[in-house]
Amino acid sequence: MKVLMKGNEALAQAAISAGCRHFFGYPITPQTELAAYMSKQMPKIGGTYLQAESEIAAINMVLGASAAGIRAMTSSSSPGISLKGEGISYMAGSDLPAVIINVQRGGPGLGGIQPSQADYWQATKALGHGDFQILVFAPSTVQEMVDLVSKAFDKADEYRMPAMILADGMLGQMMEPVSLPEEGEKKLPEKPWAASGHQGKRTHNIINSLYLTPDKLEALVRERYARYETVKEKEQLCEEYLTDDADLILVAYGASSRVVRSAVNKAREKGLKAGLIRPITLWPFPVNALQKAASHAKAMLAVEMSMGQMVDDVRLAINCKLPVHFYGRTGGMIPTPAQVLEQIEKLI
């Protein structure tokens, strides 16, 4: 059965369905409905909704809950995610899983509250200090928000690393029909590493990111990066739309990919061979699909709601084999299909 849900609420319900019973947040627009939904539902199912004193405190509550071995989540929007960066770095350094939602808005600074994709670099490259990555999923529909939250929890646990859902104000605020996963207690993975109390049955577990001996720290970071290689090999996700015969491959994720899809359809009506590659994982970036497309296409065009961030990864993915162009709007502006079509017409 399908129900009509707002993106933000769907994210929250999906987390509950994935076995998350602990949510820690701090109010910020445009993720508001997510926290409100949690505050309403969690008490009914014996879960915890806690409004923290700051985003910093919220992510550290998630750190504590995750260290205890349970599924925990926090959500925020761009300026709040900057504050969470510290905690996320510590979680990465302590090999702790969790899901962090970013319903992006315009920046920098206080920026605006309209949809944006200007946190791509932050999410995929510079969320905090030190050598680390997190999993980054980019839904483009409300249904995909539901599906990816569940996947994010599973993959975070599997690889013992934080995972982010990088959404935006448009996806968070829009309503679409969704199928929700079957209710029922999901079997969650065992976490023998957790600081859950040793009950006298094992030596003490230590959740820690401090290593004062450089060779030990380097070895641990290298072990983590070996895990990242596995992630890159196994977890790349993207959707390819009309790419087989395309001369121009457009690359777009999330909200902007919806606009691009319309533009590609309009281009096809005019006989222009445009196609779309829509990354679903931003880290790992779907390098394989882009490389494959680069072998037959003539050019690529990245379309983003930013001044151009993912476009760098497109160039790197295909090793600059094709010309890679960029079109973007920023500050909360959403490109129109007509504007994207105009770019396509210029390039084909």
Binding site: T48, N60, G64, A68, Y90, G197, H204, I206
Partner: protein, 251 residues
Amino acid sequence: MAIVFQKPKVLTDAPMHYCPGCTHGIVHRLVAQAIEELGVEGKTVGVASVGCSVMCYDYFSCDMVQAPHGRAQAVATGLKRARPENVIFTYQGDGDLAAIGTAETVHAATRGENITVIFINNAIYGMTGGQMAPTSLPGQITQTTPYGRDVNTAGYPVKVCEMLSTLDGVAFAQRVTVNNVKNVNMARKAIKKAFQNQLDGKGYSIVEVLSTCPTNWGLSPVEALKWLEENMLPYYPLGVYKDVEEGVKVK
């Protein structure tokens, strides 16, 4: 041969890195002793904070989590909310608890989180080499107050027990020290009570322990104890600042 005195089992055999004369060792012992006497080691999780005591995760034999600087009580909140049946304590210094972590401290306290907070106040940043702490005394010379702490520019010390005792969420706040046997005994009782309160579900309990830092104070261990007695005790009076017998949670 009868054993009349030994190290609590809740302390591991890892060699401690603390400087000679530092009182961390005594307080570690008292915390370990409380956990052992209450028989809760198996369900206790400690939170180590950034500062000299960060490596206490190696010294306590219960499960341990190391928190980002200042965030110990937020981490403890997450641990406790995840597993309310567990006993959660934080072990924090003055820079961690009363400067960078003030918000986390005040809000864990005002929420009445059912946790135990061990607060080491030695009026200085030890691990980074002796900078002014939020609790450094007026006139105190540190690396970053070389002319003495000038309250006109650097402000006044934070009196943590006094401040937190104004919050409705705090069940128990006591300031103790460990400069002599009598006071060590008083500290032992306070720390055990702060753990017992958690078992009884009474809510937020904090024990502030006035401590020495001979290395960064530039004094011998004996001189440091004397300095504490002459300077810290008058500014930070020992005593029970709050003790809500029935606890702070509305039943």
